[in-house]
Structures are given as structure tokens and as C-alpha cells.
């Protein structure tokens, strides 16, 4: 038991764990995570079973990865506590009475003789130290006076604060993992959805997609109303990067979904022999429209948002996103079908119209409209506040560790025949060169008493 404890107090273990942790998390970035077994078989063949068996396909959620994380956490906690108690003692209950040889052993030290009495010298030294913001503790024993002057003592605890921050972040992660709640809601305008977990209902009052001039998406905005016992409590517009928080539940604008059950399209019709001819028609799928002053009717039979011809040579849609919108149209004169074919919104050059009569119509799929659903993600993440607290401590600790240089000067004063002999030594947690300069200045100022 004791040897296990000793193992966890060792920084060597930390180093081994850090290396393991870095290598295994790196491995996880080269193996696609959380896919279906078929995908792994297709990609890795025989190796797939090994990957799945070793849980490398959900590496960051795997048991061994979590064990590794726990070992690291345990190592951090034990190392920190192990170093903390002697440090606390040193900082808060320091030993004032020390031996001269302890000071002589320090890298930064000096010995001085001052032609003044002990009291005068001590008073002068204390004045000098306080003017440099040192806090002084003193005692006397056997005609010797002992001074302990320190400043910025929090600097000794920088690394401990960092470790505490990391532990709190890990705790936050565990809480998020265990107590988190996540749900995707797909709304159309005016719809009310029940969220029993939060004890509320949510209504989507308005949903709009904003576009840039080049027709790429600029933003999605949903106006949400929170209903409690069918009374509205709160109404807000949310967009990407601007979620709404309500009693621990956060509502995010996630994306949109398209409802392709009843789309309508806008088609521009031109004639190659008559450049001034242009007709714009708007119609629903399945609808037939008669062109003004022409003996022709146009119908849209099918519409696919993401047109593709699959392996079986069927025309279908690859996704529900409008990546390659295409419409199948027919043209009729009286009861005779005169033309038919596919037209593409993004790739008008690929539009193919077959006609069995002399016509010079050309068609462009200019626009399409359909209902959009707003996808709202509801989350409750009770660990998040731990994460932010941990992050704040982490940064505070790093600042203390790197930039809050603790300094400590220990002095023994001894009176010898009306003169005073001084032995002084100092330690700094950081920036030792600057401390040495200060130390020498203090000594020089004391020598001036002679």
C-alpha cells in the first residue's frame, strides 16, 4: 500500500502518464471516431476488429482512457498534497531561529560587519526591507537577533493553484459526463414543443435565414418563447453564437432542416431566337402553368434538393441539404407532350431538355422555396461552471508560478564588542538574477552605516 502511495508521489509517474496520454490522444485523431462497424471494416479490413476490440474507435470514451485520466488525476492530487504540507509549514509557520551554516549554504548570501549597535543596525535593516515591501518576522535568542523578511509569498503556490485548477476542470468534466442533458428539437414556425426535463414548453415564433449577397448563409435566427404552465415567461431571438440561458438550460441555434414535401420553384423561360422573350413562372411541384400568349403549358414533376444518380442508376437525392437542386419539367401543347428534362439551379449548363417538336425554349431553375425547420439544441451542462472556475484558477496559478516572484531573506544579527555581525541569505522562486541585484543593493545600503 505504502509503495503504491510512493509511486503516486513521484513526478516520474507524471511524466510517463503525460507521455502515454499524449500518444493515445494523438492516436485517436488518426482513427475516425464513433463510426459504424461497417465503416471500419471497409476502411481497415482485418484490422477493424482489433481497433474495435481495443476500443480505439471510441478512444476518448473508452475504459482504459478514462482509467489513464484517473491515474493522472490521482497522481496530480497526491503529488500536490504531498508537497503542500511542508510548504504550508514553511510559509505560515516558519522557523525563525536558524543556524549560521544554513545561511552560508545558500547561493545568494553575504556577511557584513557594521560599526553600530545591534539595535541601530536592526532598525536600519528593517526600515530598508520594509521600504522594499518585505514583511518582517523577528525573534531573539542568546543575544542574537533573527529576521525573516518575505514578499509575494503566494508565488510559492503557483504550481499548486494550477493543479487545483486542473482537478476542478476534471471534476467538471465528470459532472458534465454524468449529469449532462442534450436534446435536439426540430421546429417549424408557430410550433410548441414540450421539454419535460426542464418543466417548460418552447414555442418557435419566427425563424429566418439570412444570406450574404453571394447567397451563402449569414445567420439563422429563431425567436423563441419559453412557456411555463402555458404562460409565456421569456421571449428572445437566438442565433448561432448567441444562445439563450434559462435556469441551467441553454438553447442553441444549431442549424436548419428542410421540409421537401411541398416545395415551390421559380423557373425563367427564354427563347434562343427571341432575346427579348423572358417569362418567370412560380409553381409548386405537381402543378401545371400556362404560359401567357403561348400555346404551351409547363409542369414540374419532381424536385430533388441534392440531385444524384446512384450506383443502381436511379435518380435520387443525396441529402436533405439544397446542395444540387434539380427539377424535372415537362412542356405540353394541347394534349401533346412536347418537351421534358432536368434543369439544375447550380449547374445550368448541364440542364438537358429533350423536345420532340421544333421549340426553342430554354429553362433556368432560378429559385426554390420550401418550409424550413429550425434545429434548436437544448443542453444542460452542470459541469460547465466547474470548468470556468478551474480555468480561472489555472490561469491564476500560471501567473503566480511564472510572474509572481516570491522572495525571502533570512538574517542573523549578532553583537560583538559594540559592533554588529550580519549573516544574510536569500531565496527567490523566480527571476533569481533580479533578486540578486536587490539583495546586493540592500547589503550596500547597510554598509553605508559604517
Amino acid at each position: 500500500m505504502k509503495s503504491i502511495f510512493n509511486l503516486f508521489t513521484s513526478v516520474k509517474l507524471t511524466i510517463v502518464l503525460l507521455i502515454f496520454f499524449a500518444l493515445s490522444s494523438g492516436l485517436g485523431t488518426f482513427i475516425p471516431q464513433q463510426r459504424s462497424p461497417d465503416e471500419y471494416v471497409a476502411r481497415f479490413g482485418q484490422l477493424a476488429n482489433v481497433l474495435i476490440g481495443l476500443q480505439l474507435t471510441k478512444l476518448y470514451q473508452s475504459l482504459w482512457f478514462i482509467v489513464l485520466l484517473c491515474l493522472l488525476a490521482l497522481n496530480i492530487i497526491i503529488c500536490t498534497l504531498n508537497r503542500l504540507s511542508p510548504k504550508f509549514k514553511k510559509v505560515f509557520r516558519p522557523r525563525l531561529i536558524i543556524k549560521t551554516k544554513e545561511l552560508v549554504a545558500l547561493k545568494i548570501m553575504t556577511k557584513l560587519k557594521i560599526n553600530k549597535s545591534l539595535d541601530t543596525t536592526k532598525k536600519e535593516l528593517k526600515r530598508e526591507l520594509s521600504s522594499r515591501h518585505y514583511r518582517i518576522k523577528e525573534t531573539e535568542k542568546e543575544k542574537k537577533a533573527f529576521l525573516l523578511a518575505r514578499k509575494k509569498i503566494l508565488g510559492w503556490f503557483g504550481a499548486d493553484v494550477v493543479h487545483l485548477g486542473i482537478i476542478i476542470i476534471l471534476v467538471g468534466g465528470i459532472i458534465s459526463g454524468l449529469g449532462g442533458f442534450k436534446k435536439n428539437l426540430t421546429f417549424s414556425e408557430g410550433e410548441v414543443l414540450d421539454i419535460p426535463e426542464a418543466g417548460i414548453k418552447l414555442r418557435l415564433d419566427k425563424f429566418e435565414t439570412e444570406y450574404y449577397p453571394n447567397s451563402s448563409v449569414k445567420d439563422w435566427k429563431s425567436t423563441l418563447t419559453i412557456l411555463k404552465k402555458d404562460k409565456s415567461v421569456l421571449s428572445r431571438v437566438i442565433e448561432v453564437n448567441h444562445p439563450l440561458s434559462y435556469k441551467g438550460f441553454v438553447f442553441y441555434q444549431s442549424s436548419v432542416e428542410w421540409d421537401w414535401t411541398n416545395p415551390s420553384v421559380e423557373i425563367w423561360i427564354k427563347k434562343s431566337k427571341n432575346p427579348s422573350f423572358l417569362r418567370k413562372i412560380k409553381l409548386k411541384v405537381g402543378e401545371k402553368v400556362r404560359l401567357e400568349y403561348e400555346n404551351t403549358q409547363i409542369a414540374v414533376l419532381y424536385f430533388f434538393p441534392d440531385f444524384v444518380i446512384n450506383e443502381r442508376n436511379e435518380i435520387t437525392t443525396r441529402s436533405l441539404q439544397p446542395n444540387n437542386p434539380a427539377a424535372f419539367i415537362e412542356g405540353w401543347q394541347a394534349d401533346e407532350k412536347i418537351l421534358s428534362g432536368w434543369i439544375f439551379a447550380r449547374f445550368p449548363d448541364y440542364s438537358r431538355i429533350h423536345s420532340n417538336k421544333e421549340t426553342d425554349f430554354s429553362f433556368e431553375l432560378k429559385d426554390f422555396k420550401t418550409d424550413q425547420f429550425s434545429v434548436i439544441q437544448v443542453r444542460k451542462d452542470p459541469g460547465a461552471n466547474f470548468i470556468w472556475a478551474g480555468c480561472a484558477l489555472l490561469m491564476l496559478g500560471l501567473f503566480l508560478a511564472f510572474y509572481w516572484s516570491s522572495r525571502e531573506i533570512k538574517v542573523i544579527l549578532e553583537e560583538m564588542f559594540g559592533k554588529t555581525e550580519i549573516t544574510a541569505g536569500g531565496v527567490a522562486s523566480k527571476n533569481k538574477d533580479a533578486f540578486q541585484v536587490e539583495f546586493k543593493k540592500i547589503a550596500a545600503n547597510l554598509r553605508r552605516l559604517n
Binding site: 513526478v11 516520474k12 507524471t14 511524466i15 503525460l18 507521455i19 496520454f21 499524449a22 490522444s25 494523438g26 485517436g28 485523431t29 488518426f30 471516431q33 476518448y60 504550481a159 468534466g173 458534465s176 442534450k182 450574404y212 453571394n214 451563402s216 448563409v217 449569414k218 445567420d219 439563422w220 442565433e239 448561432v240 453564437n241 448567441h242 444562445p243 441553454v250 442553441y252 441555434q253 444549431s254 439544441q377 443542453r379 451542462d381 460547465a384 470548468i387 470556468w388 480555468c391 489555472l394 490561469m395 500560471l398 501567473f399 511564472f402
Partner: protein, 272 residues
């Protein structure tokens, strides 16, 4: 004056600076290096204006595609070099460091990098874009500085072992301590910008602060390497060669986080 002309002027000034620095390496005239430093500084001023103009032109933070982000990383690197040089006077690091910057600038100007400003997708429209990217890249610039001084340390150490003392060369001990100082600046910046600001923004935009996306994972790996550097150095007292190797590995991990992840691994951070 538009952004791309100013960018090219800055590029030319950096190249002149590098030529001066390298001639200093051979002629040993400190004067030449001093002029090289001034050219780098003036280059930085032009580069600053270029970045400001870019921001005004495209209306958002200038690091949303590879061209912009490389330009900003070069800018941050020169800034890091100027800060370190002003404080520690290691002119000999200048030539190698400027060379890294020139490589980054050359990469940014290559025709493979699309230069036109594209409108921001919804997830990127946030002031966290400024905070997250600029602080992270500044941290990485200091890692680059630590990398150069570590490599110089390894050379100086080899030389000193053979008892060859070259006057005007910084001692291995000084290089080791400067490398540490650079990490002491870079590590907190990288922690704040890369990890903490990244988590806050991810929480606001995607609803979760950590998703083991490749970019996040590699940032964490980079962080671990530098944590390893600090532990081995401060607790176990590994100074010198081992420290230098770890610092170099840390920079390579940062480089992979920056480039490798974008080109080799797909994930949430795939914004182009």
C-alpha cells in the same frame, strides 16, 4: 495602398532583414545585424497596417483562411522576436528566426493559398474569433522562438563540449535560459488563447466546451509536451539537452496543430 501591396512591402523588408542578418553571421559585424533588426521592425509596421486594412476590407478578424492566418502568425512571430531581442540581445537568433517568418510569408503568398476574403459562416461570427486565434498564435510565436533558441543551444552545447569558444556567440547557458523564458511567455498565452478561450467559444457556439475534435486534441497534446518540459525542468532539474529536445518537440506539435490538422484530419475546426 491596399493590403496586398503592404503585405508584399513587409515581405521584402523581412527578406532584406534576413540578408543583413546572414551577412552578420559571416562578417561578425554587429552593425549589420542592428540594421537587419531595424528592417524587421519597419517591416512589422507595414505588416501591421496591412493587417488593419485587411480587417477593414473584409469586415472581420483577419484570420479566417490560411492566407490570413499565416500572415498574422508571421506578424506575431516578428513581434515575439522583437520583444525577446530587445530584452535579451541574442542577435544570433535573428537570422534563423527571420527565416521561419519568411517561410511563413512565402507560404502565405503562394498561389495555393486563396487570398480573397470570404464572408464568415455563422459559427465564426463572434468576438471570440479575435481573442481565441490572436492569443493562440501569439503563444505559438513564442514557442517558435523557444524552438530556435533550443536548436541554437544544442549547437552551442556541442561546441562548448569541444572547448571551442566563439566570441560574440551567446553561451549555451544563456540560450537555455532564454528558451525557458520564451516558454514562460508562450505557455500561459497558449493555455489562455488556445485552450481556455477555445473552450468558452466552443461552449457558446457548439454548446459543448470539449469535443475531442482533432484540433482540440492536438492543442492538448502540445500543452502536454510543454507541461512535460516544465515538470522535467523545474521538479527533476533536467536542464540543457533534454530540455531543448522537449521544447523542440513541443514546437513541432504546435506546428502540427496549426498545419497538419487542417490538411490531414477533418473535424469541427475545418473552416478552410
Amino acid at each position: 495602398m491596399n493590403e496586398s501591396i503592404l503585405f508584399q512591402i513587409a515581405f521584402i523588408l523581412y527578406v532584406i532583414s534576413a540578408i543583413l542578418y546572414f551577412s552578420f553571421l559571416f562578417s561578425k559585424k554587429e552593425n549589420t545585424a542592428g540594421i537587419g533588426f531595424k528592417f524587421a521592425f519597419v517591416g512589422l509596421l507595414f505588416h501591421t497596417i496591412a493587417l488593419i486594412l485587411r480587417t477593414i476590407e473584409c469586415g472581420h478578424a483577419p484570420f479566417t483562411n490560411m492566407y490570413e492566418s499565416l500572415s498574422f502568425l508571421s506578424w506575431a512571430s516578428i513581434l515575439a522576436y522583437i520583444i525577446i531581442e530587445a530584452k535579451y540581445k541574442i542577435l544570433k537568433a535573428g537570422p534563423y528566426f527571420i527565416l521561419i517568418v519568411i517561410a511563413l510569408m512565402a507560404l502565405a503568398s503562394s498561389p495555393l493559398m486563396p487570398k480573397e476574403a470570404t464572408p464568415l459562416v455563422p459559427a465564426l461570427q463572434s468576438y471570440w474569433l479575435w481573442l481565441h486565434v490572436s492569443v493562440t498564435l501569439l503563444g505559438e510565436a513564442f514557442f517558435a522562438m523557444a524552438f530556435i533558441t533550443s536548436i541554437m543551444y544544442l549547437r552551442a552545447d556541442l561546441r562548448e563540449k569541444k572547448n571551442k569558444v566563439v566570441k560574440s556567440s551567446p553561451s549555451s547557458e544563456k540560450l537555455d535560459s532564454i528558451s525557458y523564458r520564451c516558454i514562460a511567455i508562450g505557455f500561459p498565452l497558449f493555455t489562455l488563447g488556445g485552450l481556455i478561450f477555445g473552450m468558452i467559444w466552443a461552449y457558446k457556439a457548439w454548446g459543448r466546451y470539449w469535443s475531442w475534435d482533432p484540433k482540440e486534441t492536438w492543442s492538448l497534446i502540445t500543452w502536454f509536451v510543454f507541461a512535460l518540459y516544465l515538470h522535467t525542468r523545474i521538479v527533476m532539474g533536467w536542464k540543457g539537452r533534454l530540455s531543448a529536445y522537449i521544447a523542440a518537440i513541443g514546437f513541432l506539435a504546435a506546428l502540427f496543430t496549426y498545419f497538419g490538422v487542417n490538411y490531414l484530419l477533418a473535424g469541427l475546426h475545418s473552416y478552410g
